[in-house]
C-alpha cells in the first residue's frame, strides 16, 4: 500500500497542490514565530522563501516536515496529514550545515537516510548516479574531513534525494558557501531536481531565489507572515544567460522592494 503510494507518478498538472499550508500559526511559548501563514506549493513547483532573519522561514519548513507542531492551522502534504507523509518518508531535508557524519565516507553518508528507510528505497545504483550527477565521482571513499564545504553540501543533497522523497525541503543550503560555489551548486541542484518534485527553498539571496524558483514568497518578521509573492517568468532549463534578461532584473527589483517593505514592517513592529 505504502509502496504503491510512493511509486505514484506526480499528479497530472504540475501546479496541482502538493503542499497546502492554511492559516498556520506556530508559537514557542509567548514567542510567535509564524502567524496567519498560508502557502500552496504545486506538485513540481520550486518555491523559495525569502525574508529577513527571524521571519519564521525555518519554522515553516520544520512544520511542513513535522518537526515542529503547529499551534493552529493546517498543513496537508500530498493530500494527507504531515504525520502520514512522514510515515511514508516523504521529506528530503537539507540544512545550511551539511551535517555529514565524520565517520562515514561519502557513499555511506549519502545512503544514511536510505538505510534507515530500507526496503525498496535503498537503491545503490541511484546513489551512484546522483553522486556522479553532482560531480562527486571518485570521492565515494573520502571522509567528509577531506571534502571542501561545497562538496560536503553536494553529499547532503544526494543524501536527501537518495531515497526519492516526495518533497524536498532546503533551509539555506548554500548560505555558508562562497559565491562561485553557490552559483555552481544552484545549477547542480536544478540538474538533479529535474522538475520531479515540489521544493521549498529557504534563502537570503534574491538572485539565488530568482534563478532557481518558479515562485518566490517574501515573508515579514516577528511574527512571520507571508507578505507577497513573485512569479518568475523564466523558462527551464535555467541558464546563466537568463541572469542578464529583462525578466530576471524585473523579478529581482520587485523582490528587493518587497524585502525593503518586509524589513520596514519588521522595524516598525519591533520598535
Amino acid at each position: 500500500m505504502t509502496a504503491a503510494d510512493l511509486s505514484r507518478e506526480p499528479v497530472a498538472s504540475p501546479r496541482a497542490p502538493a503542499i497546502e499550508i492554511e492559516r498556520l500559526r506556530v508559537a514557542y511559548g509567548p514567542l510567535v514565530a509564524l502567524e496567519e501563514t498560508s502557502l500552496t506549493v504545486g506538485a513540481c513547483e520550486f518555491v523559495s522563501l525569502l525574508g529577513p532573519s527571524g521571519c519564521g522561514k525555518t519554522t515553516l519548513l520544520k512544520a511542513v516536515a513535522g518537526l515542529v507542531r503547529p499551534t493552529s492551522g493546517e498543513i496537508r502534504v500530498m493530500g494527507g496529514s504531515v504525520e502520514e507523509a512522514r510515515r511514508q518518508r516523504a521529506f528530503g531535508l537539507v540544512f545550511q550545515d551539511p551535517t555529514l557524519l565524520p565517520w562515514r565516507r561519502t557513499e555511506a553518508n549519502a545512503q544514511l537516510l536510505a538505510e534507515i528507510i530500507g526496503g525498496r528505497h535503498w537503491d545503490p545504483g541511484r546513489i551512484d548516479e546522483l553522486l556522479r550527477a553532482v560531480g562527486l565521482k571518485g570521492f565515494e571513499r573520502a571522509y567528509p574531513e577531506a571534502l571542501s564545504g561545497g562538496m560536503k553540501q553536494r553529499v547532503a543533497i544526494v543524501r536527501a534525494l537518495a531515497f526519492d522523497p516526495q518533497v524536498l525541503l532546503m533551509d539555506e543550503p548554500f548560505a555558508a558557501l562562497d559565491a562561485l560555489t553557490r552559483d555552481r551548486l544552484g545549477e547542480v541542484l536544478l540538474d538533479v531536481w529535474r522538475q520531479s518534485k515540489p521544493v521549498i527553498f529557504v534563502t537570503h539571496s534574491i538572485e539565488e531565489a530568482v534563478f532557481l524558483s518558479d515562485r518566490v514568497v517574501v515573508m515579514t518578521a516577528r511574527p512571520g507572515r507571508v507578505l507577497d509573492e513573485v512569479h518568475i517568468e523564466l523558462g527551464r532549463p535555467r541558464t546563466h544567460a537568463m541572469k542578464e534578461s529583462h525578466e530576471f532584473f524585473q523579478a529581482t527589483r520587485r523582490l528587493r522592494s518587497l524585502i525593503d517593505i518586509a524589513q520596514g514592517v519588521a522595524a516598525q513592529e519591533g520598535g
Partner: protein, 275 residues
C-alpha cells in the same frame, strides 16, 4: 569548478627535511628518556648517594631480574585488579552516561551524586571496602571502579549529548526510531569522547589498584612497595614502581591503539604517545 573544490594541496617540505623530521620525532622520546636515566645513574655514582636513599637505575634493573620470581606473581595480581576494575568501572560509567544523556531528570538526580563520589577520598573509604568485601581482590577492584567510572561517565555523557540537533531532526524527518538514532548517530558520535574517558580511566585504574592494596593486602605491587618500605629495601620499592609504570604505560598505549582502530576517521592529531 570541481577542480577548485578538490585542491587540497598542503605545503610540503622537501623529502629530505621531512625524513629527517620524521626520524627525529620517532627517536626523540627514547633519546630523552635514555638521557634522564644516564643523568640519574651518573648523579648517584658521582654524588655517592647511598642505595637505600636512591638506587641507581642499573641497580634497579638488576633487582628486577634477580627478584623476578617474587615480582611476577605480585605484578599479575595488580594487573588483574586493574583490568577487572577498569572493565567494570568503564561499563558502569558508560551506562550512567546513557541514563544521563536520555533523561534530564536522571541527569539532575545522578550528576550531583557522581560528582560527590569523587570528592570522597578513596584512601578513607578503602578500609570500609575491606570490611564489606573481604580481603581478596574485590575491595581493590571497588576502589579502582570508583576512580575509573568518573572520567568515563563525564566524557561519554558529553559525547552522547553533543549531537547536532539538526542531525536528529534529519533522522526524525524520515521517521527513524530512537534505536536507529542511537546506533547510527549518537554512539559513533560519542565514541571519540568515550575513548578519551577510557584513556584517563586506564591511567587511574592502576592508581586505584595500588591504593586498594595499601589499605590491606598480602599481595600485589602496592603491597610489595609497602613491604619494601618497611624493610628500608628502597631498591625493591623502585623495582615495584618501575613495573607499575610499565603496566600503566602499556595499558594506556593499548587503549589508545584500540581507540585509533575503532575511529579510523580521526586523523592522528590527538596526543601522540610516540612509543
Amino acid at each position: 569548478m570541481a577542480e577548485s573544490d578538490l585542491t587540497m594541496a598542503r605545503p610540503a617540505g622537501t623529502p629530505t627535511t621531512q625524513q629527517v623530521t620524521g626520524v627525529v620525532r620517532a627517536i626523540a622520546p627514547a633519546v630523552f628518556l635514555a638521557l634522564c636515566v644516564v643523568a640519574w645513574q651518573l648523579a648517584v655514582l658521582l654524588l655517592h648517594v647511598r642505595t637505600f636513599v636512591l638506587p641507581a637505575p642499573s641497580v634497579i634493573i638488576l633487582r628486577i631480574v634477580r627478584s623476578w620470581p617474587q615480582l611476577l606473581p605480585n605484578t599479575l595480581v595488580t594487573l588483574q585488579e586493574t583490568l577487572i576494575g577498569f572493565a567494570i568501572g568503564s561499563l558502569i560509567g558508560f551506562l550512567l552516561a546513557l541514563l544521563i544523556a536520555y533523561s534530564s531528570l536522571l541527569e539532575r538526580i545522578l550528576y550531583p551524586l557522581i560528582v560527590a563520589s569523587q570528592a570522597v577520598p578513596k584512601i578513607a573509604v578503602a578500609p570500609l571496602f575491606i570490611l564489606w568485601f573481604g580481603f581478596g581482590i574485590w575491595p581493590k577492584v571497588v576502589v579502582t571502579v570508583l576512580l575509573v567510572f568518573f572520567p568515563v561517565v563525564v566524557t561519554s555523557a558529553e559525547g552522547l549529548m553533543s549531537v547536532d540537533p539538526n542531525l536528529i531532526d534529519l533522522l526524525r524527518s524520515v521517521n527513524a526510531n530512537p534505536w536507529q538514532i542511537f546506533i547510527k548517530v549518537r554512539l559513533p558520535h560519542a565514541l571519540p569522547q568515550v575513548l578519551a574517558g577510557l584513556k584517563i580511566g586506564i591511567a587511574l585504574a592502576v592508581v586505584g589498584a595500588v591504593v586498594g592494596e595499601w589499605v590491606g593486602a598480602d599481595k600485589g605491587l602496592g603491597y610489595l612497595i609497602l613491604f619494601a618500605n618497611s624493610q628500608l629495601d628502597t631498591t625493591l620499592s623502585f623495582a615495584s614502581i618501575t613495573l607499575l609504570v610499565v603496566i600503566g604505560v602499556v595499558l594506556f598505549v593499548a587503549v589508545d591503539a584500540i581507540g585509533r582502530l575503532v575511529t579510523p576517521w580521526k586523523r592522528v592529531r590527538t596526543l601522540d604517545p610516540g612509543l
